[in-house]
């Protein structure tokens, strides 16, 4: 097992709670904005005769996949079709787990890009740990649908990167819904979006005369927050101790005032919310790793980690994933050292956790092609990257970074029925998703498209309907 595996961390958290740590009281608070997602009833599915990349590192040629009751039930040769199954003849086609993008702003920066819907950065203060991205998500965003056509079944929606601490992320299933709660991945932990480097100091700083204006100001800004969160946890523990002691002390005990910012930060320090950290430069990632030790929290992944290749061993040793683009570089100074081998290098080291991410409503439509580019670059310098390995960059590894790898990201019995049938080798520019299943429900069928667009916004738009008169 890889070090600092999220499941291991989750188990530790459970143990801590069982040990009666007072601070666990708040953690037990049920989500006040609970998921209402429930997959529709769907017939079982037998996908037959495909090249199957399971996401566990295995490849099976001429293999079958069975989905029943929303779950993967079998992967192998010559499987029986369950009664009433939809049978998909997939000879010559490829099957993979549904793709997972750990970095998206779909719904919070939706299209059309108009001011009325621009809800991704609460850029009014450098620390907004109190905000939750889910409260900005516009489920109508047509970009959910184009992402689905690219095989995306699960995605993390993050606040933007203007702030040192931007707020909580949310993990969504890519299903049509009127409310985001009906997309919310049941039980997936939220993340905390933090940002290194240029963005916070550019958005604040000299222009507004608000700290930070430098990278050292950035780090001082984060540390001050963690110190406050530690104090909050101490106050909370003192209160719980009094309550537990009973008697007069218990009667007089007052809980610390409820504070959304500190609740978030405390949940991070308690290990309930992993940090998803926007960080380009190798040296800054190393600083963040030290800071995570200083205060005892877990960074799940560095996002946009353009220089991850420079510290690939360090990241692997610390159990932190790197979420990367195949070839974005140079648009700002901290992206100047981008190389196309980044993903392949991060993947090549022992226990490396490479993720292909998008941060783009265009890129999310073709994460498979991004991986294709990275494969080619890796192979060109002698790194063996078979398709069954590369698919992990888009499935198992992002699931791991989001803390949902026990439930999705691989084609293993018991996992969610999140499956893509591709018309070609998925790492080709010509590959298209033919069918996309989410929890066993056929959500996208390229050959038999819906008559009407799924997004309310696209409904009845003359421009999308046909040729102009």
């Amino acid at each position: 097992m890889r070090p600092c595996h999220p499941r291991a961390v989750a188990r530790l958290a459970v143990l801590a709670a069982a040990a009666g740590l007072a601070a666990a009281a708040l953690a037990a608070t049920p989500d006040p904005y609970p998921s209402t997602y429930a997959p529709a009833a769907a017939p079982p599915v037998l996908i037959r005769g495909a090249t199957v990349l399971t996401g566990t590192g295995a490849r099976y040629d001429d293999a079958d996949v069975v989905i029943a009751d929303g779950r993967i039930t079998a992967v192998g040769a010559h499987l029986e079709a369950p009664a009433g199954a939809r049978v998909v003849e997939a000879h010559g086609r490829w099957v993979t787990p549904g793709l997972i993008d750990v970095h998206s702003h779909i719904g919070v920066y939706p299209v059309p890009e108009v001011s009325g819907n621009s809800d991704g950065n609460e850029a009014t203060a450098p620390v907004t740990a109190n905000v939750w991205a889910e409260h900005s998500v516009w489920p109508v965003d047509p970009a959910f649908d184009t992402a689905l056509a690219g095989g995306i079944t699960t995605l993390e929606i993050l606040p933007g990167s203007a702030n040192l601490i931007g707020g909580r992320s949310v993990v969504l299933k890519n299903v049509p819904a009127v409310t985001y709660q009906a997309m919310k991945f049941p039980g997936a932990p939220q993340g905390l979006k933090m940002a290194c480097g240029e963005n916070p100091k550019r958005v604040y700083g000299a222009g507004r005369n608000v700290a930070p204006s430098t990278r050292m100001g950035n780090v001082a800004g984060y540390r001050a927050q963690w110190i406050e969160a530690q104090e909050y946890l101490r106050d909370l523990a003192a209160y719980e101790a009094k309550v537990k002691a009973g008697g007069k002390a218990a009667e007089e005990a007052k809980p610390p005032k409820r504070d959304l910012r500190l609740e978030t930060l405390a949940a991070v320090l308690r290990g309930e919310i992993p940090v998803q950290m926007h960080c380009y430069r190798a040296d800054e990632m190393a600083i963040m790793l030290d800071m995570s030790r200083e205060f005892g929290f877990r960074i799940a992944a560095f996002h946009h980690a353009v220089e991850a290749y420079k510290i690939a061993n360090l990241l692997a040793e610390r159990g932190v994933c790197a979420a990367m683009w195949a070839d974005w570089w140079g648009f700002k100074m901290e992206a100047n050292d981008g190389i196309q081998e980044n993903i392949a290098f991060v993947d090549a080291v022992p226990n490396g956790c490479a993720i292909v991410h998008s941060d783009s409503d265009e890129g999310i439509q073709r994460l498979n092609q991004e991986a294709g580019k990275a494969i080619a670059r890796g192979r060109a310098v002698g790194l063996a990257i078979p398709p069954e390995r590369a698919i992990e960059w888009l499935t198992r590894n992002p699931a791991r970074a989001l803390g949902i790898d026990a439930r999705t990201g691989t084609l293993e019995p018991g996992k969610m029925g999140d499956v893509v049938v591709w018309n070609h080798d998925p790492f080709s520019v010509y590959a298209l998703a033919d069918e996309v299943y989410i929890d066993g429900v056929l959500q996208y069928d390229r050959v038999h498209p819906r008559g009407k667009p799924r997004s309310d916004f696209m409904l009845g738009q003359p421009a999308a309907a046909g040729a102009a008169p």
Binding site: P112, V114, G330, F331, Q369, F427, V429
Partner: protein
Amino acid sequence: MSARRMLGLVLVLVAATPAAAAAPTAVLLRNGVIHTEAAHGTVAGGSVLIVDGRVTAVGRDLVAPPGAEVIDLKGRPVTPALFGGIGQAGVAEIELEATTRDGTLKLGQMRPEFDPSLAFNPDSVAVAVARVEGIGFALLAPGAEPGSKGAPGSSVIAGLASIVRFDGRRPRPPVALEVLVGEEGGALAGESRAAAYMLLAQALEEARSPAPPGPAEQRLLTPAGRRALKALAAEQRPVLFRADRAADIRTAVEFAAREKLAAVIAGGAEAWRVAPLLARAQVPVVIDPLDDLPTGFDQVGATLENAARLDAAGVAVAFSLRGGAPHEMRKLRQAAGNAVAHGMAPAAALAALTRVPARIFRAAGEFGSIEPGRAANLVVWSGDPLEVTSLVDAEWLDGQRQSLRTRQTELRDRYLERIRAGTAR
């Protein structure tokens, strides 16, 4: 062309070259699939002979002259060096660093004489990074930005566009004018896209009148601007109208016809909806095949089938990534592959990266095809040139074999050692 005739031609060329005192350097690329984008079409099992940097023959069964370097392509494809689209490589080293940017004029004045190619830096790392991905030329066109916080923006006429060459040479002289209609034009024309045409018409009238009408303080153009605009219009050089909405494209095409301008549509997200009009008026389009979202209310009809539908309607289609990011040109090849995945013929997609843009921007004598008599501007690919897993194996620009090293390969090699040694920390 037979081998004998070809050899004869080689000898004539050598004899006619004053520098022929030195032995000619000849390279024969043999046994490949040669996409000539010219009269030869695609030659399977084909060869290209390059003598002293010039393509002297294309065909089957070419014979290497004595002393020639012979490269067996083993069936690999060869294409002309690719078009990088309309973009700002060479005038913006780091986009977010204003001190490194020269591609957008923000004087708040209409200056059709603005020529960003004077700022082109052939040593930009972004140019090298594009070059090693098979890109030989691009259209450098001015950027556009509305003013903000009291600072002036650009103008409805953004300025002059030039073909820039990624082989170290200077840009070609300006070839086109870029104007903004649609949403961008509206933002620069008193917040109405309708006013963009009003300002354009006034500027054209000023340029064409021997004595510009009206009092000097009401004029839009400087004398230099009048000369530049007048010459462009008179010489029927391309005028790039940046527009996406079907209605804006129609209005632009009609405006251009009225003003006798040679319109080219850049953007064109909804161009498929007016494809018959574009075909009839012979107006080419430069589109991003990846456009498929309503990024604004100008792109509601965007679709991945835009390229295929335009091509089927007989419209000349060239490709460019939206936004013209200086560092992303290498992605254009992938965009073209996606056009094929969504119905465009592979040959048409390759043409949209080579022959068609070279013709639209009057550079066909130099770029966009592999033809005898032309300087070698060509690329050997490891596989299908539109496939994301294919790489450049060899490249010639302006007759010179190109190094495939860049700052990025230097970084790669430095850190690959550490990856192999397990010391990347």
